[in-house]
Symmetry: C2
Subunit: 193 residues, 2 copies
């Protein structure tokens, strides 16, 4: 413990330890104490980073991804349409998932799929990211309703692409898959009207 306490990347190690344990023994059977032990830190350190075991897999991502999306929407050139700004945002988010992160994503997907509590948290993260993107669009002068639909479309495209990317058969980068998925959803949305 003495040394571990001073190691960097505590947050990352807690996330890795949690995913390991959820995979090995299941989400329900895993305790915060075990996650902390596996990461080589105290339970108190765990609670300095996360409020509970469910948040370990989502809290960091929600905050960081929300910021990436909002920043990219804000940085889109002035004449960009809402959908163009959203396309740039999900592209920026997809670019942070380099191929070395695929095995982690695949394991995360398996764990989340097995647990209703985690599926609900994932849905709540999706909604949080839609909200962050919507707010950034509204700041650009996009009407709220249009903004929320554009944001929903973009995050749906990202979620679909992420599921493909995390499957063992996938070989393409997440950015390519996200652009394809975005184009498909845009076409489906146009066909609705």
């Amino acid at each position: 413990m003495g040394v571990a306490r001073w190691e960097p990347n505590t947050r990352e190690r807690l996330i890795e330890a949690a995913l390991d344990l959820f995979t090995e023994k299941g989400y329900d059977a895993t305790t915060v104490t075990e996650i902390a032990e596996r990461a080589g830190v105290t339970k108190m350190t765990f609670f300095r980073h996360f409020p509970d075991k469910r948040e370990v897999l989502f809290a960091a991502g929600q905050e960081i991804h929300g910021r990436i999306l909002a920043d990219a929407v804000a940085a889109a050139p002035d004449p960009a349409t809402p959908l163009q700004a959203v396309a740039a945002a999900v592209d920026a988010l997809a670019a942070t998932f380099t191929n070395d992160r695929r095995p982690f994503a695949a394991r995360l997907r398996t764990v989340v799929a097995a647990q209703r509590e985690l599926q609900e948290r994932a849905a709540s993260k999706h909604n949080g990211l839609v909200e962050a993107t919507t707010e950034a669009l509204v700041k650009r002068g996009v009407p709220e309703l249009t903004a929320s639909l554009a944001a929903e479309l973009g995050l749906r495209a990202f979620d679909r692409a992420f599921a493909q990317w995390a499957s063992p058969a996938s070989t393409q980068p997440l950015t390519t898959l996200t652009r394809q998925s975005f184009d498909e959803l845009r076409a489906a949305s146009a066909a609705l009207a």
Copy 2:
């Protein structure tokens, strides 16, 4: 207890009792035992109806509303477009909320807004209803992507209308509000393309 056990509408009384207690003392401070007592039934009876206190406010609605939406989509006339079928479905759902249910809806909204756990459950109910509607559209031959976007648009319209309807200032029926909201969202969606 002897008599209460045989009374009808146990489910409805448990829902009423839960909402009363959540309003009076807050969601966290309320126990299943208290909800059962207030409804005049045993804890065991509670658990025959709901797995936990969170589900009391959602389980019944999710099941019934999902069925109403799916049935209405299936019953839409053959030449109906996906958006027309969804409009008929949310219309059918809105019609079940007669004005005498508004005070209940208003209290429900207040309780849910105060509790993150309940907000997540509400979001998960939204997703469940989108899924039920999507499946019914797919059975009509609508492509999955188009179906899911049409369903999302319809349930968003319903959620927005429901929030307006449950506010004290509102006087219009939920069906009227839902149709207005649906038209606004459809226009915003068309403007995106």
